[in-house]
Symmetry: C2
Subunit: 187 residues, 2 copies
């Protein structure tokens, strides 16, 4: 079978161009994706994973990934921490809801702790470590929303009311705090 090739066409009864398969006419409706992740604290330190995969291989991130079919967001956040950090989480509450419209992502980020003490690098991680707040490698974080989530978690830890945060004012997830523009920043 040939690799499918797609053309942008407005299907009948629709009002937006969709990817339609040139071979069989299948309409590939693309939808925004839901990322679920957690800021995980243990003994005052924060769990970060060094990415073994592109994009942003070698950079540090919180355990996070795409919600799967038939999964609740909390279950998805726990699954991602198991996969990426071999960690078992106790989820405390929803920390933030971020939106990255350029890449059609909505991110649900939870506050969590380790329900059991162990952790280790899963197949998508080069390394997993606990960082004290003043040791966090801010220059080597993978995505803008990792910066946001760590900052918002720090505010929560300092006593901010338990209202989920959202994107910092004017930020759409297209640039790092350094000003670097991102071509691809899927988690």
């Amino acid at each position: 079978m040939a690799d499918p090739s797609f053309s942008l066409t407005v299907p009948e009864g629709d009002d937006i161009a969709r990817k339609v398969c040139d071979t069989c006419g299948f309409v590939a409706y693309e939808n925004p994706k839901i990322v679920v992740g957690s800021v995980v604290r243990h003994d005052g330190r924060i769990l970060l994973c060094r990415r073994a995969i592109e994009p942003r291989r070698g950079f540090w991130t919180i355990p996070a990934g795409y919600l799967e079919l038939n999964e609740t967001p909390e279950d998805g956040a726990r699954r991602e921490a198991r996969e990426e950090a071999r960690a078992t989480l106790a989820i405390e509450r929803l920390l933030a809801v971020y939106s990255v419209p350029r890449i059609s992502q909505v991110q649900l980020i939870y506050r969590a702790s380790l329900a059991e003490p162990g952790f280790a690098a899963g197949p998508e991680s080069l390394d997993v470590r606990l960082f004290a707040e003043d040791e966090i490698p801010y220059d080597e974080l993978a995505f803008p929303s990792v910066h946001w989530a760590l900052g918002h978690d720090r505010e929560a830890e300092a006593g901010a009311p338990p209202i989920p945060f959202s994107n910092p004012d004017g930020e759409t997830g297209s640039r790092m705090p350094s000003g670097e523009r991102l071509g691809v920043d899927r988690m």
Copy 2:
């Protein structure tokens, strides 16, 4: 071109069965969907739309629908209110985050008001009306999460802190408060 037919197959490098096109091999990755909607208040009354489309045609719902590509959730909630109720919203804040894992939905529901006084039935609505709280047709609401959202909005109106609500304890969106089991309850 024939209608595409799909078989469930685990693609190479994956660990979950996906729908693969029998004609061309296209892998139809299905993802959870994001529903965005609003509880809209105007002069102490609540805006509801009577559905002109299946499922749950003839039942009342809040303006809500699927988030589109490259849209923020707030923009999506405003778009759905324009489409279904010809209404222009001022969004106040996130009211609730619900999860309906059986149909792979995450719902972001906002509190909003009418930014302009007018409204009218759009093509997906038979009727759009403002209801006083004691006039709401609870027996004719379309989905469990419409019940939840109206109840949570009432709690917010009564002074509950601005922390988004989530599913009522033990509820997964599979049944109406009457006990009726739902086969399909996509919004």
